[in-house]
Amino acid sequence: MSTEVPARTQAKAASTSRHQMPGRESADRKQVTQGRWASVLLAPTLILLAVVIIYPVVNAIIMSFQKDAGLDTATGFFVQGGAAGFDNYAHWIAQQCNGVACPPGTLGSQFWGAMSTTFFFAIVTVALETVLGFWMAIIMARTFRGRSIVRAAVLVPWAIPTAVTAKLWFFIFAFEGIANKLFGQQILWTGSEWPARWAIIISDVWKTTPFMALLILAGLQLIPDEVYEAAKVDGASAWQRFTQITLPLVRPALMVAILFRMLDALRMFDLPYIMTQGGNNTTTLSILVVDQIRQGFNSAAALSTITFLVIFIVAFIFVRFLGANAVGAATSSGKK
């Protein structure tokens, strides 16, 4: 049996240390063949991503070091801006417009505000979606009559195209809209900061909780019933079963769901754009990018790159400190 170590254990051993133990040639050789296999299996994914994502990303990064076209006042035509160095980046981060602080009413003045708004939305929506999604998943995992109806209904918010969703909620949250009518309120949902933010959060949570719920549900379904039965036999309370069985076993799926929701939420665009056009401090980084594209692509490319770096750091912290096993070959703390 010593040569037939289960691959699972082996992978675990290899990746936790990440350094191959000297003197285990068979493992090394095995890794080489597996490496070849892996490159074949991964090639299509990597090529597709390289062409459609990495090419434009790198193109944008290059453009971000060029000045935007400026107006030649003599001719009235735009002329190419030339090399910009880090000016476009400084413009955003230092909020400098031509050497002075960007005045209110410019995109430059909104950078840090947009940054905090984006984080605020991302943290609040993802937190709410995780809790709600988990709860929905647990309910849907139970056996009861009409379960499939609930599962289908949960898909509804997510299946409606975002553009329609945004219009729908804009319509619902109008001053004379159904939300105010139904609850007898006179709230100016899109007329001031906090109502506008909550309107956006409610719409986003409504729309994307199903995504969370479905992913978590799929994770839950991988847990064999026997595990719960055994725990019950051992006298574990519902809460203990949740924290000691459900949570650890569903963790990989949960982490993937949270990670991807986080990446999406940090790039949130459609809902706030259609509902408030970024007014009342609801401008997210992506909205700022879109507005800037209409004023000059190169500055927008710099802003996109900054956004990319910010998200990269968030994802890195997330993967590194919170959910290494969502990504990592590090451990498989899953089932034993």
Binding site: P6, A7, A11, A14, S15, Q31, G35, W37, L41, L42, T45, L46, L48, L49, V52, I53, Y55, P56, A60, I139, M140, F144, R147, V150, A153, L155, V156, A159, I160, T162, A163, V164, K167, L168, F171, I172, A174, K181, L182, W206, L215, A218, G219, G235, A253, V256, F260, L263, F269, S286, V289, I293, S304, F308, N325, V327, G328, A329, S332, G334
Partner: protein
């Protein structure tokens, strides 16, 4: 815990459990009702608006009033330049091919990431994740120029290939996380029973992976179905998808927001999708319990 006490607990549990059982079911049904209301109430309002006479667009009456099919007729009215049937077909083609390709390619990648041991695994995972970190809006202009220069504008591949790439990171990650949780020992034992690696994968692992794969497919399909950014700028009249078509609906005059038509179109694209999932879901779950390896 001695065997005696274990038996005691079990026997003691039976009456208690019976009582608890009902309570639990009631709670489950209440929870299910809450979920239904939360998910469907805004949808209900969408349907009400979709069936409402355009002259009463802003009427906030909660029930169906001034019911008409006109909005649905508008959606399909070719004289108004709406080719919604065509758009639906395009969306099915784009989202369908995207899902299939993303799933196949993603299963390969996920299998490698979950099962094989190779160098740079972490880097590859990082690279794939990195692909969903750039603001999508900033990708459109370079892609537009790339596709223009190779003559792909307005073709299906110009919509499908970006769509696959947007879907792939999630697909790969989800599948990898699920694959890692699979009882691969079963594959080993199947191979001891004389299966090849391929057979072992197909006959043992695939059925087990079905719910996860199905979930991933739904997620991929819906995200491809909802894709708007790329399609709005890279499609032509012939390849326009439903999301683009909906955004281009117009009111009877400038400034008029075509709410009722948009809601009708939203209803049309949502309901078949949900029914499709409902049907498939039953099939998959049924197939799974039948073929389960225990």
């Amino acid at each position: 815990m001695s065997a005696a006490t274990a038996t005691a607990t079990r026997t003691a549990e039976i009456p208690v459990r019976h009582k608890k059982y009902d309570w639990g079911m009631t709670r489950t049904y209440i929870a299910a009702a809450v979920i239904l209301i939360w998910c469907l109430a805004p949808f209900y309002w969408m349907v009400v608006t979709a069936f409402r006479d355009v002259g009463y667009t802003f009427d906030p009456t909660f029930f169906f009033t001034h019911v008409t099919w006109d909005n649905f007729a508008t959606v399909f009215d070719e004289r108004l330049g709406n080719h919604f049937a065509r758009n639906l077909l395009n969306s099915v083609i784009v989202a369908g091919i995207t899902t299939i390709v993303a799933l196949v390619v993603g299963v390969f990648a996920a299998y490698a990431l979950a099962r094989l041991n190779f160098r740079f695994k972490f880097a590859v995972m990082g690279f794939i994740l990195g692909a969903s970190m750039f603001p999508g809006v900033a990708l459109v202009t370079p892609l537009f120029q790339l596709f223009t220069s190779i003559g792909w504008m307005g073709t299906y591949q110009a919509l499908i290939i970006p769509s696959i790439s947007f879907t792939l990171p999630l697909t790969v990650y989800t599948l990898t996380s699920f694959f890692r949780e699979m009882p691969w020992e079963l594959e080993e034992s199947a191979r001891i029973d004389g299966c090849t690696q391929g057979q072992a994968f197909r006959k043992v692992i695939l059925p087990l992976a079905a719910p996860a794969t199905f979930t991933t497919a739904i997620l991929a399909f819906i995200s491809a179905w909802n894709e708007f950014l790329i399609a709005s700028q890279l499609s032509s009249d012939a390849t326009k998808t439903v999301t683009v078509a909906i955004a281009s609906f117009a009111g009877s005059q400038p400034h008029v927001e075509p709410y009722t038509a948009v809601m009708a179109a939203g209803t049309i694209v949502t309901i078949p999708l949900v029914i499709l999932v409902l049907v498939f879901q039953r099939k998959i779950v049924a197939g799974l319990t039948a073929g389960a390896v225990k």
